[in-house]
Amino acid sequence: MLRLDQVSAKRGNVVALEDISLSLSPGNTLAVVGESGAGKSTLIATILGLLRPSKGTITWNGAEVSTCRPSLVMQEPRSAFNPAHPLLRSVLEPIVGQRATVPTERIERLCTGLELPQQLLNRRPSEVSIGQAQRVGILRALIATPPLVLFDEPLSALDAVTQKHTARLIADLQREEGFAALIVTHDLGYAVAHADEIAVLKSGRIEEVATPESFAVAPKSDYCKTLRDAAIALGALEAVG
């Protein structure tokens, strides 16, 4: 289980996260939502150990998070890959040293589910569309069947239909393999449809942790209500009642 206990973190002298306590069990999905600059991506960096917390502790089953080799789907799809290498080489990075052979069946299944032709993996990042690069990022994150996957805006470059297919694939694999998923997203419709819990961040603090139902129907704070109403105005959520 991923556990954050009263975590604070700074970017330079600015407090980017303050007193964050969260937990995430295997097989579950936690969506982290909030406006730009709320600290969502900083939260991911802190969990991965890229940014050291100034206070508090972050653990996976009581040990350091790095012991579980978590995966990350990065926000900027193209810059997530080495521009000089074919995508396949980057995709195989998480399993370097772990396996002698390329897991062809796994790649095949993920490519099919992500609607990516396998030959595309022989191209370089600049030779594929941003939406394709984003799905290759998801492929790389899931190839080694990690126990914890951090998704930073994983569907932002995909069209509405592909978004739903990709979300479905992630949910199916999660059911089969039981990984814990933390998903940072602007898309509240996605959060409500796929998360077990939604954490709303505002100015580096947790405003509310709610189930999708209570977030969609009866958000507690004014800010969460504003977010919910914005999602309805944008067509990402249906108005209830």
């Binding site: 509405a160 239909v161 592909t162 602007h186 419709g189 409500v192 109403d229 914005a230 990402a236």
Partner: protein, 227 residues
């Protein structure tokens, strides 16, 4: 008065990406151009803008990426003055404070170049430039893609208010039928470089005829997922 274009087409590397397309747009119309990634929406948007400008019409274009609209070597203030000049306005006559306040970019430093602003702020700056005057048509290509939901909703609301009392027609290009459904009265669905369906928003949502429209309609909302 109606805007009219005919025979718009485009090819890239020998492949036709926009088949010959004709359009009529009534003044004050609210049109959504929807379709999957790569269906030719942005290409049609560009071709439409170019053709109408050739005809002497005034068209504001908010491209998908702010990089297309902003010169990295020029300050934001320069861009604003150019937009005013293009509309024949004297410098400083546009209601910049109101637009910036409504789009929540009032804190942006106009002396900076585009890269001194975040991508979301750049996108809103380009939208503000498009709202300076009353052109014949505003074409908005995925205008909320870099914005968080609160800011995106505020931006779309400002757009609605702005267009309310004007003859300016609007074309909203998006892959998100859920977004378009709330903002436009007519939808055009694109697939493989062609407009395959054109009907009222309600008809497309309730009685989509083509496979492209059916797919978009079925997937427009996260909560109504087809299995």
């Amino acid at each position: 008065m109606t805007l009219h274009v005919s025979g718009l087409s485009a090819a890239r590397s020998g492949r036709t990406i926009l088949h010959p397309t004709s359009l009529e747009i009534e003044l004050g119309a609210r049109i959504g151009l929807v379709g999957a990634s790569g269906s030719g929406k942005s290409t049609l948007g560009h071709a439409l803008v170019d053709e109408l400008r050739t005809q002497g019409r005034s068209v504001a274009h908010v491209p998908q990426s702010p990089d297309e609209a902003l010169d990295p070597l020029r300050s934001m203030a320069f861009h604003w003055q150019e937009a005013e000049k293009a509309l024949g306005l004297h410098t400083g006559t546009a209601d910049q404070p109101m637009l910036f306040e409504a789009l929540k970019i009032a804190g942006g430093d106009l002396k900076k170049r585009p890269w001194g602003w975040s991508r979301g702020m750049q996108q809103r700056f380009v939208i503000a430039m498009a709202l300076i005057g009353s052109p014949d048509l505003i074409v908005l290509d995925e205008p909320t893609s870099a914005l968080d939901p609160v800011v995106a909703a505020a931006t779309m609301d400002l757009l609605d208010r702005h267009l309310q009392d004007r003859d300016t027609a609007m074309m909203l290009i998006t892959h998100d039928l859920g977004l378009a459904a709330r903002r436009v009265s007519t939808l055009m669905v694109m697939q493989d470089g062609e407009i395959v369906e054109r009907a009222s928003t309600q008809d497309i949502l309730e009685r989509p005829q083509t496979s492209a429209a059916q797919s978009l309609s079925a997937h427009r909302n996260w909560m109504a997922l087809p299995c």
